[in-house]
């Protein structure tokens, strides 16, 4: 599968305040993301993960290095519209990204800007709303919706542009568990059914555990990059940089430290239960 997002030796510093030296936020990040991949980006507050995400659709431009999406260089101003149509971004606060007072108008907003003909726009808006499970709410006011529903509207607005990838910057941080589940399930479906590449920035390890690949950013560099199993099995390293691992992984790790033989790459509650059950049935039959 070809790479859709290519990040090459990316350096970035925010403009320095007067009399201060510019602090480098990203220190030479190289990362390739394949078409159709579902990638989680983890890192504590201030690690540079959001700054990294903002480079993918040219909200920020590299101080040094290069970012391309589907072959388009993000620094190419002439192709900015093309780029943003291919890579859409969803932010943390649902209230900051909704502009219209009717749900379907909000979803149509970007299409109007792109000059999509009416018939086509109608079809795309309806399809997008159906895809996020919000079609029945198309004539509602966004103000009456829950946080999770608002995020799904924001996602619909992106999907209507028929992008190749979606970047979500902590889309569930302000939501309750129900809202989190809705949003995650919606994004997973987009990925599975439409093959849209997903970059999910999150603080929730259980969300990251469900992705194809986990990239851990620390102090502006890539610290780890692998499958959730590969990354989370390094419990001590993850904890050392202020992140967590799923509790099932941690429990297995703690028991292993106490001398109990358990596999290292446990991620889900189910797997953990299997391993513990095996521990007792195996030895019990001796």
């Amino acid at each position: 599968m070809k790479n859709i997002i290519e990040i090459e030796k990316l350096h970035f510093s925010y403009p320095a305040e007067e009399g201060k030296e510019a602090a480098e936020v990203l220190k030479g990040i190289s990362l390739s993301i394949r078409e159709g991949e579902f990638v989680a980006v983890l890192g504590h507050n201030g690690s540079g993960k959001s700054t990294l995400a903002k480079h993918i659709n040219a909200i920020l431009l590299p101080t040094e290095g290069r970012v391309t999406v589907d072959g388009i260089d993000t620094a190419d101003e002439d192709r900015l519209f093309d780029l943003r149509q291919r890579a859409g971004m969803v932010f943390q606060n649902p209230d900051n990204q909704i502009v219209s007072s009717v749900v379907e108008e909000d979803v149509a907003f970007a299409l109007e800007n792109l000059g999509v003909p009416y018939e086509e726009m109608r079809r795309r808006v309806d399809d997008a709303l159906k895809a996020v499970g919000m079609y029945e709410y198309r004539l509602h006011s966004p103000s009456q919706l829950s946080g999770g529903q608002k995020q799904r509207i924001a996602i619909a607005g992106i999907i209507a542009m028929q992008p190749k990838c979606i970047i979500l910057d902590e889309p569930t941080a302000m939501l309750d568990p129900q809202g989190r589940r809705e949003v995650l399930a919606t994004v997973q479906r987009m990925n599975r059914e439409q093959g849209i590449t997903v970059v999910l920035i999150t603080h929730y390890m259980d969300e990251a555990a469900q992705c194809d690949r986990v990239v851990v950013i620390d102090k502006g560099s890539v610290l780890m990059d692998g499958t959730p199993r590969e990354v989370f099995s390094q419990v001590e390293r993850i904890k050392a940089i202020g992140l967590d691992v799923p509790q099932a992984t941690e429990l297995a790790h703690e028991l292993r430290k106490a001398g109990i033989e358990l596999p290292e790459d446990i991620l889900t509650a189910e797997e953990c239960a299997d391993a513990i059950e095996a521990l007792f049935t195996k030895k019990g039959s001796n």
């Binding site: 568990p177 129900q178 509790q247 429990l251 028991l255």
Partner: protein, 290 residues
Amino acid sequence: MAILETQELTYTYSRGTPFEKTAVDHVSLSINEGEIIGVMGHTGSGKSTLIQHFNGLLQPTSGKVLLDGRDIWENKRKIRDVRFQVGLVFQYPEYQIFEETVFRDIAFGPKNMGLDEAEIKRRVLETANDIGLPEELMEHSPFELSGGQKRRVAIAGVMAMEPKVLILDEPTAGLDPAGRDLILEHIRAYHRRTKNTILIVSHSMEDIAAFADRILVMNRGSVFCFDRTDKVFSRAEEIAGIGLDVPQVTKVFMELKRRGMDFGGEAYTVDCAKELILRRIRERNGSAPC
């Protein structure tokens, strides 16, 4: 001794309109002095409406709220005093910071209480210490601080009033795991020093499990259960059934129970799960014939 009580508390929004909705329905409960209470419930369960009654932001449609045994609405003009005694920290409280220095922001509440300079200073510095804000930050602008520090300034502003009851609505929302642990640790430091009652609203059962003496679970405007943490977790299956998230280790033990393995206890933190399993292994090894 009960510090806060509700008797048949009921609150109906938009009464007499087509939008009428009873958000809290005949809730009677009692919270003891010095307790740490976790409050859970999904969106729309009535938990926010309930806590807004505790310091008189909402007035009951019917029923009573008692603070120290007295009806807080007994004398409407005294409701301001109730707000000094029951401090409420909203979600994302850092958006409410407005003063020029950290010190002045924390001092705002105590100042409004009419305390003298020396007392204000003592309270600001003591709470700043509890919440982990070093003294040299006191003269900085709160807007220069990191998100986590700003949140702690905002929480300290309410703590500095030394309310008998401190209510925090989702104090860890949006923080990374290290920031979340830090805030909880500092809230615990405040509790150790003041022994004041704390209510903490959270969606994260994992946070609450390691923190609270008792847990109040709200569902559809009523009390679903209000009991010791271990007792509440013994009903994990039902709690998951009303749309709340149970910790992953609890799910592991629920699954094991389903398969007929009972570890004789409730696992709601990684530590207690580990202990339960190790205990079972020791028992088995001890009783096994050599």
